[in-house]
Amino acid sequence: MPKPSDLLQGTLDLLILRTIARSPLHGWGIAKRIQTLSGDELSVGQGSLYPALHRLENQGWIRAKWEESDLGRPAKIYSLTPQGRKQLERELQSWDRLSSAVRLLIQNA
């Protein structure tokens, strides 16, 4: 299992933004979704998840609201702002660019 520290900040932000772009979610749900979707390859450590959520909220890319949730009690639900959607576009592009550059390098060996 990769340790949380294997994910650098930029990638974590990208994953969070992408995840709640599908549907608003609480912190727990975000962690769970990332883990499931990646087929247990990625697990998000709580130690970086909540600070990242706060940071994104401060940037104005996501917003939070206490709402009734599937957990059977009110939880803090995060959703994407329009700015966040633009930021997600940017980060997706940069991810594509970087990962294909690396792929280029290792496959042409």
Partner: protein
């Protein structure tokens, strides 16, 4: 960028043949068509780390312009590590790819 990527790229570059630090940077930047920029501030700590773990070895040689320079080459362990890291990297990237995949987007 994913951490560990730089290590992998350095190993990958040295798999092509021994090189000194500057060449490594140059090769990575050139072959990625300048998309990947390697900071000197992170390259040397990486080389240090890799040497520490026995994945690369260094020796003194003469550079193109006849200066003394420290060259690095891949060790056997390093070659294995490269294969492992490449696989790991592919794995991670595809995992991330699954999360990012637009096909699974649910209606908003």
């Amino acid at each position: 960028m994913l951490q560990g990527t730089l290590d992998m790229l350095v190993l990958q570059t040295l798999a092509l043949g021994p090189a000194h630090g500057h060449t490594i940077t140059h090769v990575i930047e050139h072959r990625s068509e300048d998309v990947l920029q390697v900071e000197h501030g992170s390259l040397y700590p990486a080389l240090h780390r890799l040497e520490d773990r026995g994945w690369i070895a260094s020796f003194w040689g003469t550079s193109e312009n006849n200066r003394k320079a420290k060259y690095y080459r891949l060790t056997q362990a390093g070659r294995k590590q490269l294969i492992a890291q490449t696989a790991r990297w592919e794995q991670l990237v595809s995992a991330i790819g699954r999360i990012l995949k637009p096909a699974t987007e649910e209606p908003r």
